[in-house]
């Protein structure tokens, strides 16, 4: 595993390194979350690394968000700006199209991942180049851009030095396997110079984006390592792939997001590098700039009036670090799109809930709500998880054979739908349950219900139901004449 080096690499169109690596390596037809999580849970080193890293980042984030006394006001503003943008997305998309084009760049539209890959491959091919450098971007990983370019005969050089350093470390003789101090420094220097040489010869750069400003046509990249700076500055041609939800209406709106993202993301006052560019600039940076706007399921999420809040996400990764589930499983089990609580609500919305992984993600949560508390744009992740659980159940209604859960729920609906049926069921169930009990506790329920008692005992139901007791009490009261009760006792 890639360990935790990336946790503090912070926001950007990039996820932390451990996440990125896991996401890139997961095949498209992924297993259910609970199945995939077993492997991660069986790796004690991963769990230890995750715990160390998430604990540290939580500490830093608390400090960074606690030191500004208008943090809650910034969150409210961030939420409102994103909500406003989403509800007027068609207007802002057209404005982006216009402003970016006016700035001397070309805008491309991609309905889905395949279309986006084809556009990028076509653009690279048109330059006549067979190599490109890239910064890691969530959108690039989402559409499988690296693999597609490779298959098209275009060599893509990833530029994350932490990954390169780890590769160099692995390749070293075993004697030097525990690098310390100087050894690590040498590796860092080697990585740096090798990457630097790569950048200076590359003619095509690929990037993601954190924000696209509609009124000016400006693209913003927020990052820790400077890969975006390199990709956006040195090559002759720059291709940026960004989801349509990255738009903010005005330049001034960045005054909110450039405070929210660094502090919520890596717990920094400001991320080490923020780059922005508007089209092309003569004599500075690429001569050609292409912006690929990606839908790929985002309009599905937009159609759900509750679920669309997930599109506010600015990819800060704060919800990952506070999630008790993520802290134990890491990114891998969440599948190829996005990890953590935000992934658990984004992936099913972007890709539908029909397949096993997507259907399992809304359940990959304890609904503790820590994610909603830290989210800088106040996405109510538990609310959307619950809503998606409902959609998963709904989608199963169409199956010819009902799931055991659904069969049970249907019987429950039948029994609860009528007072007489309810009382009979209650009486019968209590009687059978008391037969199963030993010493007031039921240790094992029969059949599928037994899964529930795998981890806990069930208290035996009382001999008399509340309704029966109430009736008996009412009958007794009717026999005894009513007397005034004792006066209320004085306190103390």
């Amino acid at each position: 595993m890639n360990g935790m080096n990336g946790q503090s690499q912070g926001p950007a169109g990039e996820w932390p390194a451990a996440i990125r690596t896991a996401a890139a390596g997961t095949p498209a037809a992924a297993a259910r979350f609970s199945v995939a999580a077993r492997e991660a849970l069986g790796d004690p080193r991963l769990r230890r690394d995750l715990r160390t890293a998430t604990t540290e980042i939580r500490r830093r984030r608390a400090a960074a968000t606690g030191e500004v006394d208008d943090w809650e006001h910034l969150r409210a503003a961030g939420q409102a700006i994103k909500d406003h943008t989403l509800l007027n997305l068609d207007t802002y998309l057209e404005e982006v199209d216009r402003s970016v084009t006016e700035a001397g760049a070309t805008v491309h539209w991609a309905r889905n991942a395949a279309e986006a890959r084809d556009i990028v491959i076509g653009l690279v091919a048109a330059t006549g180049q067979t190599e490109a450098v890239t910064m890691r971007s969530a959108a690039g990983a989402e559409i499988g851009l690296g693999e597609a370019l490779g298959a098209a005969g275009i060599r893509v050089h990833g530029t994350e030095s932490a990954e390169l350093i780890e590769r160099l470390e692995r390749d070293r003789p075993a004697a030097g396997a525990a690098p310390a101090g100087d050894g690590a420094g040498e590796l860092a220097a080697a990585a740096r110079s090798s990457l630097s040489a790569l950048f200076q010869t590359a003619k095509v750069g690929l990037s993601g984006a954190n924000f696209i400003v509609a009124d000016t046509g400006t693209v913003v990249v927020v990052e820790s390592e400077g890969n975006g700076r390199m990709c956006g500055t040195l090559p002759q041609t720059l291709i940026t792939v960004a989801g349509i939800e990255k738009i903010v209406p005005t330049w001034a709106d960045l005054e909110v997001f450039l405070q929210l993202l660094p502090r919520a993301g890596a717990g920094e006052r400001m991320t080490p590098y923020v780059s922005s560019w508007t089209g092309v600039t003569a004599g500075d940076g690429p001569g050609e700039f292409h912006l690929v706007l990606l839908d790929n399921g985002r309009t599905n999420a937009l159609a759900d009036e509750v679920g669309r809040a997930a599109l506010r996400c600015i990819r800060c990764s704060a919800c990952l670090d506070v999630c008790p589930v993520y802290e134990r499983t890491g990114a891998g089990p969440y599948g190829p799109v996005y990890p953590g609580p935000i992934g658990a609500i984004l992936t099913p919305q972007l890709r539908g809930v029909e397949r096993p992984l997507e259907a399992s993600l809304p359940y990959a949560s304890t609904l503790c709500g820590a994610c909603a508390d830290v989210c800088p744009v106040r996405i109510d992740i538990p609310e959307i998880l619950v809503r998606l659980r409902g959609q998963v159940i709904e989608s199963r209604r169409r199956r010819p054979v009902p799931t055991p859960e659904m069969a049970m729920m249907r019987s429950a609906a039948w029994a609860l739908g009528d007072a007489g049926r309810y009382e009979t069921t209650l009486r019968q169930t209590a009687r059978w349950a008391r037969l199963l009990a030993r010493g007031g506790r039921i240790r094992r329920l029969p059949g599928l219900l037994g899964k529930w008692t795998d981890a806990r005992d069930l208290p035996a139901p009382p001999g008399q139901t509340f309704r029966a007791w109430w009736r008996a009490r009412a009958a007794a009261a009717a026999r005894v004449p009513r007397r005034p009760g004792p006066p209320p006792r004085a306190p103390g």
């Binding site: 160390t52 491309h108 500055t233």
Partner: protein, 222 residues
């Protein structure tokens, strides 16, 4: 209009339905400027900038306008820079005291090779932000193209006191979005000293020195 564009816009409109075009009121009651008694004056803001910068990996020195040439020479001597590249429009006076340093004025036509041969670069800046310990370059006066401050290993940045603002909103207001912008912020030194983690190497200069010129400068960058 391409098919894809038409279809995506159509999908967006269909997805929003009646909610489309709803104007959401944006509460902008966050602080526009720094608040607090310790940042009440310009001098306090400048002091905060220096203090936070000194806390990070950068070193910072305060100089008067008439000492700038000497301070630049001293900083370059201290960093051992013998080969220097500078933006073509760097004020001549900044380099007047240099001795034994080879100076190359950058031009876009020179490609990037000339930049990697240089050990260091001297620039001005457009805006600096005290609260976040940030220097913003916009390619304007005395800053040159972006690659200039990306490839050499040493960067000496001259910040005039009147370029320092307190907060991010103030910086956003001053900056021109149509220029290519690079924001460089120092991470607190303590945050980078943790065991058990592979520290990614940053691209860009390994060493950043900052000279804060205390008197109002005759020319403002940008």
């Amino acid at each position: 209009m391409s098919d894809a564009k038409r279809e995506i816009l159509h999908r967006v409109r269909a997805a929003l339905g009646e909610a489309r075009g709803t104007q959401v009121k944006i509460p902008r009651d966050y602080h526009y400027r720094l608040v607090g008694a310790d940042v009440a004056t310009r001098a306090d803001v400048v002091a905060l900038f220096s203090e936070r910068l000194a806390d990070s990996l950068a070193t910072v020195r305060h100089v008067g306008a008439d000492e700038l040439g000497t301070a630049v020479a001293a900083a370059l001597w201290g960093a051992g820079v013998r080969r220097l590249v500078v933006p073509a429009d760097l004020p001549y006076g900044w380099l007047a005291e240099l001795d034994g340093v080879q100076i190359c004025a950058d031009s876009a036509a020179a490609g990037v090779d000339a930049l990697t041969e240089a050990a260091g670069v001297v620039t001005g800046c457009a805006v600096a932000i005290a609260q976040t310990c940030t220097i913003v370059l916009d390619g304007g006066r005395a800053q040159g193209r972006r690659a200039l401050t990306l490839l050499p290993g040493y960067h000496l940045c001259v910040v005039h006191a009147d370029q320092i603002v307190g907060s991010v909103p103030e910086a956003i207001e001053r900056l021109d979005p149509y220029r290519p912008l690079t924001w460089i912020s120092g991470a607190p030194a303590a945050a980078r000293l943790e065991p058990g983690r592979t520290e990614g190497v940053r691209h860009g200069p390994r060493v950043l020195d900052v000279l804060v010129v205390d008197e109002a400068a005759p020319v403002r960058a940008g």
